[in-house]
């Protein structure tokens, strides 16, 4: 069993990156959220990479296979880095759009959800047809307009 290449420095780096990233992630400005995502991403990439053994570059002929660093987490992280680039571009486009529409890049609270919160505070329910009140006061007497009344004036036959 080969030992991983992790050491105290790597653990501290992971912890600091993720911690700082999380506190940025909890902000409302999209720019800060994006920076938080990048920081957390870097921390997690380090976590994955340190899960494998450290060593020489994984190139056959340059390093003896027994001395090589683990190639699998490297391939995973390489993919992750490029995905993060695409994600960064996308979030930046969103913050640009948000600025374009509102003049800022803050993430507001969901209006629909707040409406439900207010409704709960007023002890109301949301369904219109169900659950509120029955069709008539006496549930046994359902008033059904007669077809003749319903279609009066349309020349019943």
């Amino acid at each position: 069993m080969r030992e991983s290449g992790a050491n105290l420095v790597s653990f501290v780096a992971i912890g600091v990156l993720v911690g700082c990233g999380v506190s940025l992630l909890l902000e409302r400005s999209l720019t800060r959220i994006l920076l938080g995502v990048i920081l957390v991403g870097n921390g997690v990439n380090l976590l994955i990479i340190f899960g494998g053994r450290s060593g020489g570059p994984p190139v056959v002929g340059v390093t003896d296979p027994a001395e090589m660093s683990d190639a699998l987490p490297q391939a995973m992280v390489l993919t992750a880095i490029v995905i993060t680039l695409g994600f960064t571009a996308f979030l930046l486009a969103i913050s640009y759009r948000s600025w374009f529409l509102t003049g800022d890049d803050e993430v507001p609270d969901d209006i629909e959800d707040q409406r439900i919160v207010r409704r709960a505070a007023r002890k109301e329910i949301s369904a219109s047809d169900l659950g509120s009140e029955p069709p008539e006061d006496d549930p046994e007497q359902v008033d059904t307009p007669a077809p003749w009344q319903r279609w009066r004036g349309k020349g019943p036959r």
């Binding site: 790597s10 700082c20 902000e27 994984p58 296979p65």
Partner: protein, 946 residues
């Protein structure tokens, strides 16, 4: 039988078309479908009369062992006659009941025929799961039919209530079916009936669940309430669904399973108690109704209770009486409903307080109603009398049940008289009611149904023969259906009920206060409302607590869970117990200081640019750690990505405010930092645990040898990307294409595929003499935005950079590099051209659409996978091809190179798309908005409000 079902399906599908052509008259041809079912059942009479069965089986879902197993025995034959016969008559009736311009007629006709088909499927089904499917189909169709008048709230409410109650029962029944089928090893009724069932509490639960379904469908207590409310449906619907067909489904299920399950513990107590209580309460409630239709509805509830008792008790005599009663009830109740429909249609009301002297006006209609009501009350020689005598006779050995049945029947007689009196009797002080001319198609169906009750009653002996095979499933049958049962107890009881009912009706005046007052303290309707109301309230409460709509709150909750649950586990297992190296290289702590410093300062930074640069610093530090770890490919990619990221950031940050807005709540900032601290500690602890947790050898042990032998490359990471784990990379490419498209669609207000911004023709003048042109697009920039140094440098290194990117692409298989790194270098080269020369320069540098590049890259990667499949290999398998060219000499080509070229193109496409969108298009917007400091729309809004 399948042909009949398909016929109904086809008829239901063409119904809207026919209605469009002929209006409600389209119901005449549509009535042929149920009529065909009736005719088929009549023709099959000889087969089932001797206790035989008609069976058809078609393979359906063989994986589940589910076949379209159809089977008709005596009980289902009887139901087929009713469903087909009453269905056809009701459709004929509907043709004139609805006015020619009635709204929703197309839906009504289609759904009505569809319902008839579903009901047929229900009674044909031999497989319990197939029965369930049809059962729920009838529920859905009944929902649509009850809610026919969509504009009326009461109809929508009634439809929803029927749907909710019966679906709830249906779901319980499904669970019961599955338990039963699992227990017995088969879902086929025909197989269940042949072998004895092993008992046990498991079976008891299954039986209770199935009973729940039957009780809810047949509106027995405690599920009664939906049926009276469902009278909001058009009267033909009530006559069909709520008298003859759908509510009988529960009774049918009881009758179907009683031969096997009546002996199981809770069956008899549940069925008897529910049935008897329903019968008495329903009859009592019917006596106080003033709406004729509601009177019939409560009468139906009451009779369904009687039917449940007779069919469900599980003795041979009662079963015979029960099916006879089933037939009788379907005939007289649908006839009465149709009569009410005629009155309602002709007089404009069905309130018995407003009707008076109708018997004088419409003696024929009154005769029909009296005939049907007499059958309901149990007068000889009608089938109602025959059935009721048989029921009494079957329960002579259970005096308590018999007594309640007699009480219930007294009520039945009383409300039968009340119905006739209410509909046709003369009332002092009320003007005589006149019916407008009643169309013949509306008179014929109730007449036929009421007449059928007379015929069946007089032909009781033949009926006895036909229904006997069903009763024989329970054992030896002593009883016989007969018009003259002999001078025994039942006949005496009949006399008692008739007299008692008449007396009860005569005392209606003195009894009125009691009728109004005595009702159950909690009605099912109140229970239903209370439950649905509580459900809605709970839903709102739960939503308001869990969905606050705040992104930081959601994320915070997730992160707190992350740091408490896995973090708590970490505290228990203490993975840091073993010794940990401080560092593997003295450079590492230095890099750590850079990373930690950058990250901590970034959290507190107030300016966007500062924060971004600090984060970029941590990125470069991470790349350094990759180098020290022995991952040159990663480090290269990380360096390049970090640089591209900074460039993109700068493009966007030029539009955003310079500083972050000040957060109003300072306390929340500390909460955020506390969460950040705990999550950071947790993840660090997880890293400690994860890196020391390896127990099995890594699967990548063999990667180096695999890379050389099968991937034909020496750079293990690159071979992993393009060969060993190529599917992952393919997925990633798709994500990149989507992200790039998303960026473009967020920024471009018009199509991005339009003409690219080439240099303005006016600018294409001859270069000023004596002045070198370094970049052709540079001249389009304003003087103060131009940097000649940048233009010169760009001019000098652009081609070198592109060449270098190609080198990285081609050498990547054997040395650090590859499609990702190469594509990023090329993207950086394009970024430089854009920064130095503006958007026209970008178009000069890359005169192709970003979408084209992205698509070509993805197509190349996928095409490589397809090509290797076509060549007979696995998808994305690499093959080494040895080639020879003059001058070059021997060389080889590895097919995975095409895949890597695809990667290269997609990355370039991403960079190009981002530059086009966040760079060039934003430039254009800035110029269009006259260099406004605010967002376009925001400026317009503020300008408008001024």
């Amino acid at each position: 039988m399948l042909v009949l079902l398909i016929l109904h399906l086809v008829a239901a599908l063409v119904a809207p078309l026919l209605v469009r052509w002929w209006g409600p008259r389209a119901c005449y041809p549509l009535a042929l479908a149920p009529a065909a079912a009736f005719g088929w059942a009549v023709l099959r009479t000889p087969d089932v009369a001797q206790g035989g069965a008609v069976a058809e089986t078609y393979p359906w879902i063989s994986q589940l062992g589910l076949d379209l197993a159809l089977r008709t025995t005596t009980l289902s034959w009887l139901l087929t006659l009713l469903v087909g016969g009453v269905g056809a008559l009701v459709l004929v009736y509907s043709a004139r009941y609805f006015p020619p311009d009635a709204a929703g007629m197309a839906r009504y006709a289609g759904v009505m025929v569809g319902f008839a088909g579903a009901m047929l499927g229900l009674v044909f089904a031999d497989d319990l799961l197939l029965l369930y499917v049809c059962w729920e189909l009838t529920t859905v169709f009944s929902y649509l039919l009850i809610g026919h008048s969509t504009e009326r709230r009461s109809a929508r409410w009634a439809a929803a209530q029927a749907l909710i109650v019966t679906t709830l029962g249906g779901l319980a029944m499904l669970v019961g079916f599955i338990m039963l089928g699992h227990h017995a090893g088969t879902y086929r009724w025909s197989e269940l009936a042949e072998r004895p069932l092993p008992g046990g509490p498991y079976l008891v639960v299954a039986v209770l669940l199935i009973l729940l379904g039957a009780l809810s469908k047949s509106a027995l207590l405690p599920f009664t309430s939906w049926l009276p409310v469902a009278m909001a449906a058009p009267t033909p619907v009530s006559a069909y669904l709520h008298a003859a067909a759908m509510v009988k489904a529960g009774i049918y299920l009881l009758g179907l399973l009683a031969p096997m399950l009546a002996v199981v513990g809770p069956w008899r107590p549940v069925v008897l108690v529910a049935g008897l209580v329903t019968m008495v309460l329903g009859g009592w409630a019917a006596l106080r109704q003033t709406d004729l239709k509601l009177l019939l509805a409560y009468g139906t509830v009451s009779q369904l209770g009687l039917l449940a008792v007779a069919v469900g008790v599980g003795t041979a005599d009662a079963a015979l009486a029960g099916v006879a009663m089933l037939l009788a009830h379907a005939l007289f109740k649908s006839a009465l409903f149709l009569v009410v429909g005629v009155i309602d249609h002709g007089a404009g009301t069905r309130d018995l307080r407003k009707l008076s002297g109708l018997w004088r006006d419409s003696p024929f209609l009154a005769g029909v109603a009296v005939l049907a009501a007499a059958s309901m009350a149990g007068l000889p020689p009608l089938v109602g009398f025959v059935a009721k005598e048989a029921v009494f006779a079957a329960f002579t050995d259970r005096p308590l049940v018999l007594a309640v049945l007699v009480v219930g029947t007294v009520l039945t007689v009383a409300y039968s008289i009340r119905f006739v009196w209410g509909a046709f009797g003369a009332r002092p002080g009320v003007a005589p009611t006149r019916l407008r001319r009643v169309a013949l198609p509306m008179l014929v169906p109730p007449t036929v149904l009421a007449g059928a009750g007379l015929v069946a009653g007089t032909a009781a002996g033949a009926l006895d023969n036909l229904l006997h095979p069903y009763a024989e499933l329970f054992g030896t049958v002593d009883a016989h259906l007969a018009l003259w049962p002999g001078l025994h107890l039942p006949l005496g009881l009949s006399g008692v009920t008739l007299v008692g009912g008449a007396v009860l009706f005569a005392l209606r005046g003195p009894l009125a206060p009691a009728l109004a007052r005595v009702r159950s303290p909690v009605t099912g309707q109140q229970g239903y409302e209370w439950i649905t109301h509580r459900f809605d309230r709970t839903a709102v409460d739960v939503t308001s607590v869990t969905q606050r709509g705040s992104l930081p709150q959601y994320l915070g909750l997730i992160l707190v869970v992350l740091s408490t649950v896995p973090g708590g586990v970490l505290l228990v297992i203490r993975p840091w117990a073993h010794s940990i190296d401080l560092w593997s290289s003295p450079v590492q702590p230095v890099v750590l200081v850079v990373i930690a410093g950058g990250a901590l300062l970034a959290v507190g930074a107030r300016r966007r640019l500062t924060a971004m640069l600090l984060v970029g610093m941590t990125g470069y530090g991470t790349a350094m750690l990759f180098v020290l770890h022995g991952a040159p490919d990663l480090a290269l990619t990380q360096f390049l990505v970090e640089t591209v990221t900074i460039a993109i950031f700068v493009l966007v940050l030029r539009r955003l405010p310079e500083r972050f807005s000040v957060r109003p709540l300072r306390s929340s900032r500390w909460i955020r930092r506390m969460i950040g601290l705990t999550v950071g500690l947790t993840v660090a602890g997880l890293a400690v645990a994860a890196t020391s947790a390896r127990q099995a050898p890594s699967i990548s042990e063999r990667f180096p040898s695999l890379a050389v032998e099968q991937g034909h490359g020496r750079n293990v990471v690159n071979v992993t990307l393009v060969d060993i784990r190529a599917w992952d990379t393919l997925g990633e490419l798709a994500v990149l294409v989507v992200a790039a498209t998303g960026v473009a669609s967020l920024v471009f207000q018009q199509s991005r595929t339009g003409p690219r911004p080439r240099r303005l023709e006016a600018d294409r003048g001859e270069p000023v003499a004596g002045r070198r042109v370094w970049l052709r697009g540079g001249a389009t920039l304003r003087e103060r935005n131009r940097s000649i140094v940048l233009e010169v440098v760009t001019r000098l290194i652009f081609h070198t950079a592109v060449l270098f990117s190609l080198y990285l692409l081609f050498s990547g298989h054997n040395a650090p590099g590859g499609g990702f790194a190469g594509g990023l270098v090329a993207g950086l080269a394009l970024t430089m051209r854009y920064l130095a020369g503006g958007r026209y320069e970008l178009a000069e540098a890359a005169p192709v659409g970003a979408g084209t590049v992205l698509g070509a890259g993805l197509a190349l990667a996928v095409g490589g996978a397809v090509a290797s499949l076509l060549a007979g290999g696995a998808a994305l398998e690499s093959v080494k091809v040895d080639l020879w060219l003059p001058v070059v000499g021997d060389f080889y080509l590895i097919t995975s190179l095409f895949f890597d070229v695809g990667v290269y193109l997609v990355v370039i496409g991403l960079a190009l798309d981002v530059l086009r969108s966040l760079g060039a298009e934003v430039d254009r917007n800035i110029e269009a908005a006259g260099r406004g400091a605010q967002g376009g729309l925001a400026v317009e809004r503020r300008g408008g409000s001024r």
